[in-house]
């Protein structure tokens, strides 16, 4: 383990103390870092002489609860009371803060934060605890084995005499750092897995307006920039007339940058008015005539042809040809914007040989490299202050670092610090969407109603193609993010083929909360439901039989959700129940949705019962919150959200035509957590995939109408 040198803290403290309310994620953390003597033998944990424990969180807090769940691991292993814990955001430093599941890169995504940090933080905290215990034993003059660490104190287990951690810091700091400290036995946990034992560390700042998001950064002499970007994908700047824009009071400058034309002003409103007054001519590119209709037609033709094999067992084509009971269906999902409540923003300050960035960064290492490249600096000359993100859902983890690069390009041309602001329209129309996909499904049942063939053809753009992730994510032409959740179908079907077409289009695509599973979960769990109904079997029993003993964790969540939802109990007329189960990011989630239909096309989603197996649930309420949030996010997409193209232009621009779920539409959600001793896995994304198929399956149960296209809108055709 490498140590966190004192100068790092001082650098952080200098940032936090430079008259700027930025640079750290919690108020007061700056002072905690700058305090006197300390014990900081590694990059993650520091104990001050007053007993305060500072946890350095290397992941982005974007709502998913890392600023709570990760410190909970430290507090547990270090045996300190929860209120003693402070959180600060790690600097961009891949040497110390790489995501162990991303290789050498620092970043947050793929629901990996907890899985990455579980052992890393336990070991880091255990080392500190051991040093404090050794120091305590020496001072008490008793053997190490005779002292215990509890509630922020090292005490003699015989006499009860002891010292608070703060009093032992100076002595402990002189001791060698244990390389392989013993970890607590899980039976001794008092925080991990205990309901109510820890509370969100960010709740106070998020209820009094003091939490600092990327968009909230205010630097001395800062200017604000907005960018006019091409109206169609692939278009480039031809020429612009900025005379009227420059005449807008408050506008300082108008500059061409690679992504468009930036209007730089004293404040946001002046910048927006300047942008409105700008006249820009664009040179059409490859996306000038794109339309969703044409993309659909092109994809439909590809569905008729075999694709690259993502998985092949038996001979699905032959089994389908030989079958007398064959089902075929085409499913469609749209392009989707992430639409986090906080649109993209980034503040940049340049100095000689130095660049400092403030943003809700999801990919610090690639953002650092991208900024350095623009400026001709070394990556380590780029400092990043990772602030709260007002949601992200994948948008801020962009291999091109688009918004970071844009801000740096503007800063390069400006005199002082620059803040880049994206409007909601920029966000909805600016690309980096969840990809539009068509799915062709063919299945066959034998005479007994058992599935004997499953052929799933997917057509949709690759996220990784053409990016730095291509080598790691694309194998034999298959981008695993396209097929995840489809090629991993857990059901025992003897003849199974999953095939992929990855057409290239100028529309930019990106991971969107649960990535491939955001569409593959819907498609596979809906089509399996179709097969169950065609076979005259109960959808739960059908799934259980096909999972068999090979997938006990799928079965356990399925059974738990079904039991808690009263699966099989009669429902009044006009109501329906649907079930779905899906594994993503190594967590298992089953959901039962209950819907009411009014006989005239209207419906409501009344209740969702959710069961999750994420290994050890470190902070159970955060797990529940993420399931609730995943359900809301997935329902928005199932019911309403779509980005469409016509004549190259995006047809939506803001929440009036890109609707998302409202309070009155939020179903009651019950979350049940499967007790587990397995290492923890992620919860940020896995709540999303099952909700669309659970609701679609429930609507089928209520109406007999099968939904195969998302979004299905607030109404369905009945009968």
């Amino acid at each position: 383990m490498t140590g966190l040198p004192r100068r790092r803290f001082l650098q952080l403290a200098a940032v936090a103390g430079a008259g700027l309310a930025v640079g750290v994620r919690l108020g007061g953390a700056g002072e905690a870092l700058a305090a006197g003597g300390d014990l900081a033998p590694n990059a993650f944990v520091r104990v001050d002489t007053d007993g305060t424990v500072t946890v350095v969180v290397k992941h982005l807090e974007m709502g998913q609860g890392v600023d709570t769940g990760l410190p909970a691991i430290v507090a547990e292993e270090l045996s300190v009371p929860w209120p003693a814990v402070r959180v600060v955001s790690a600097p961009a430093d891949s040497g110390r803060y790489n995501n162990l599941l991303f290789g050498t890169a620092q970043g947050t995504g793929g629901s990996t934060s907890m899985a990455n940090s579980w052992l890393q933080l336990r070991k880091a905290a255990a080392a500190v605890r051991e040093m404090l215990c050794e120091a305590g034993a020496r001072r008490l003059g008793v053997p190490r084995a005779q002292v215990d660490a509890r509630q922020g104190r090292v005490a003699d287990s015989a006499s009860g005499k002891g010292f608070g951690y703060g009093a032992l810091v100076d002595e402990a700091a002189t001791l060698p750092v244990p390389q392989d400290p013993p970890l607590k036995d899980s039976k001794d946990f008092t925080l991990i897995g205990k309901d109510g034992a820890v509370r969100r560390t960010d709740a106070t700042g998020k209820t009094d307006g003091s939490a600092v998001y990327g968009a909230d950064v205010i630097l001395p002499d800062m200017v604000t920039a907005v960018v006019a970007r091409p109206p169609t994908f692939g278009a480039t700047l031809a020429r612009f007339d900025d005379s009227k824009a420059r005449a807008v009071p408050g506008v300082r400058d108008v500059v061409a940058i690679p992504s468009g034309v930036a209007v730089v002003a004293d404040d946001t409103w002046s910048a927006l008015k300047g942008r409105e007054a700008l006249r820009v001519e664009w040179r059409d590119g490859a996306g000038a005539t794109l339309s969703t209709d044409a993309i659909r037609a092109r994809y439909a033709a590809l569905l008729e042809q075999p694709g690259l094999a993502a998985r092949r067992e038996g001979d699905a084509d032959a089994a389908l040809a030989a079958s007398g009971r064959r089902l075929s269906a085409v499913y469609e999902v749209p392009y989707l914007a992430h639409a986090p409540m906080e649109p993209l923003s980034c503040a940049v300050r340049l100095g000689p040989g130095r660049c400092e960035i403030w943003a809700g960064c999801q990919s610090q290492t690639s953002d650092q490299a991208a900024a350095a490249k623009v400026l001709g600096l070394q990556p380590q000359q780029v400092a990043i202050n990772t602030l709260f993100a007002g949601g992200s859902f994948g948008r801020r983890a962009n291999p091109t670092s688009d918004y970071i690069v844009e801000a740096v390009e503007i800063a390069k041309r400006a005199d002082g610090p620059v803040r880049l602001v994206w409007t909601r329209e920029d966000d909805i129309q600016g690309g980096y969407y969840r990809a539009f996909f068509l799915h062709g499904l063919d299945g066959a049942l034998d005479a007994a109603g058992n599935p004997v063939a499953w052929r799933h053809r997917l057509v949709g753009q690759s996220i990784a193609a053409g990016t730095a992730h291509a080598a790691a994510m694309i194998k034999d032409g298959i981008d695993r993010t396209s097929v995840e959740g489809a090629s991993t179908l857990p059901y025992a079907i003897p003849n199974l083929s999953v095939e992929l077409h990855s057409p290239a289009l100028p529309v930019t695509v990106l991971w969107w909360r649960s990535v491939g599973s955001s569409h593959n979960g819907f498609v596979t769990e809906s089509f399996l439901d179709e097969m169950a109904h065609a076979a005259g079997r109960d959808p739960l029993e059908f799934r259980r039989a096909l999972l068999g003993d090979a997938h006990p964790r799928h079965r356990a969540v399925l059974d738990l959700a079904a039991e808690k939802a009263g699966w099989g109990s009669p429902l009044p007329a006009g109501r329906g129940r649907g079930i779905a189960v899906h594994e993503s990011f190594r967590s298992f989630v089953a959901q039962v949705a209950e819907v009411s239909v009014d006989g005239k096309g209207g419906f409501t989603v009344d209740r969702v019962v959710c069961a999750v197996d994420c290994g050890i649930a470190v902070t159970p309420d955060v797990v529940r919150a993420q399931m609730e949030g995943g359900i809301a996010f997935g329902l928005s997409a199932a019911l309403y959200s779509a980005v469409t193209l016509r004549d190259g232009r995006v047809g939506q621009s803001n929440f009036h035509d890109y609707p998302v779920l409202r309070m009155s539409e939020m179903p009651a959600v019950e979350v049940h957590i499967v007790p587990s001793a397995e290492p923890p896995t992620g919860v940020g994304e896995p709540g999303v995939p099952p909700i669309a198929p659970a609701v679609a399956n429930a609507l089928f149960a209520a109406t007999g109408r099968r939904i195969r296209t998302l979004p299905f809108g607030g109404r369905i055709r009945e009968g």
Binding site: G63, R200, T207, A211, G391
Partner: protein, 155 residues
């Protein structure tokens, strides 16, 4: 110069009269608690109190509000907001938290007008405040809890 009263203080602001209050608060006064989410009155993230009523500051021109009393999340004081904040924290309502300033101000306005709202009342009052993290049910529970606290009942 336009004079605005924000959180009890009079500020002279050098802004065009058509400037939305939101940008005056954030860019001119450094009060960043009210958030930009849509700029079109569609999401509620920018909600502030004006003379005790919730308004979308992104759709309120600063030139139209001279003499009106504006209160942002930073300046909210009193029993109602205290009860709401306590409920939000007790129920761990916020996730990303970006919408919560607006949610809290809408909730405070609701409780001021209707001390014991039903679920339907809450939905009606809060449906214009979007949350992408899906904290809606916790918000609703938080409003009920705050209402109970204010009524002197055990939450």
């Amino acid at each position: 110069m336009i004079s605005v009263v924000v959180n009890g203080e009079v500020h002279k602001v050098d802004a065009d009269p058509d400037t939305p209050l939101l940008w005056v608060l954030r860019d001119h006064l450094g009060l960043t608690g009210a958030k930009y989410g849509c700029g079109a009155g569609l999401c509620g993230a920018c909600t502030v109190m004006m003379d005790g009523q919730p308004v979308r500051s992104c759709r309120t021109a600063v030139g139209d509000i001279e003499g009106r009393r504006i209160v942002t999340i930073e300046g909210m004081r009193g029993r109602v907001i205290d009860a709401l904040r306590a409920a939000w924290i007790a129920l761990d309502v916020p996730q990303c938290g970006y919408c919560q300033s607006g949610q809290l101000i809408s909730a405070a306005a609701l409780l001021a007008a209707n001390p014991r709202p039903s679920d339907a009342d809450i939905d009606r009052a809060m449906d214009g405040n979007l949350c992408r993290c899906g904290t809606y049910r916790r918000i609703r529970a938080g409003i009920h809890r705050a209402a109970a606290t204010l009524a002197g009942a055990a939450p």
